[in-house]
């Protein structure tokens, strides 16, 4: 299982998914109305490292983080 956290304004509790790569996670989140509208503007971190490759495999215990647009300062 992979735990997915939604940060900042998305305001949803973390959810665990049974997925083996980011592509599968993408398909699930795109179908979920709570998340689909955010995805276009969200970055993705795998174990707290921002990632850029949708083909990355996920293993049990991995932590995925969804980061909406930021504005510090």
């Amino acid at each position: 299982m992979v735990e997915v956290s939604f940060l900042g304004p998305i305001q949803e509790e973390p959810i665990s998914y049974d997925v083996s790569n980011l592509k599968e996670l993408s398909l699930i989140l795109k179908k979920d109305e709570r998340f689909s509208k955010w995805l276009e503007n969200c970055a993705v971190a795998l174990n707290d490292e921002i990632v850029y490759d949708l083909n990355l495999n996920l293993k049990d215990g991995d932590k995925v983080t969804i980061l909406p647009p930021v504005c510090g300062g």
Partner: protein
């Protein structure tokens, strides 16, 4: 040096402490950016969420880059509510060389705005409203879309 505080920054205390540290490092140039919450758009203040694990990595990667120029980076940021006239953000670069400090503070502050995992909300009528229009999608966004 990265410092996160609940609520507004105690700017004078922070700057005083950083100055003592700067002096102890025998560096000639210390440049600081202080962000103050302005009275605009009828807000009562701002509020911030921070995701620390990625913020810390982001800061460490910048410190590594600064190390190449013998510079030391400083940052203080608020979590939660910060009212009008209070400060939510201080960034600093300490360097033996003036040019390094002036160039690095610019890049450091701009990348902070574009990349640091911090979310801003306007405080209006006691509510927290995501500052969507002022926010920036982090590089690489849209991967799952």
């Amino acid at each position: 040096m990265l410092e996160i505080y609940k609520g507004a920054l105690e700017v004078k205390e922070i700057e005083s402490r950083w100055l003592d540290l700067a002096i102890s490092q025998n560096c000639g140039a210390f440049i600081k950016f202080v962000g103050i919450v302005r009275d605009e758009n009828s807000i009562e203040g701002l509020s911030f969420d921070i995701y620390r694990p990625i913020l810390e990595r982001w800061f460490e990667s910048w410190q590594k880059r600064a190390d190449e120029n013998k510079a030391k980076l400083f940052m203080a940021h608020s979590e939660g509510d910060v009212l009008l006239g209070q400060s939510s953000y201080i960034a600093g670069v300490l360097s033996p060389k003036r040019r390094v400090a002036l160039e690095l503070i610019d890049e450091f502050v701009e990348d902070f705005k574009a990349s640091a995992p911090i979310w801003k909300y306007d405080l209006v009528g006691g509510e927290r409203i995501y500052a969507k229009d002022r926010s920036t999608a982090i590089k690489g966004s849209g991967l799952l879309a």
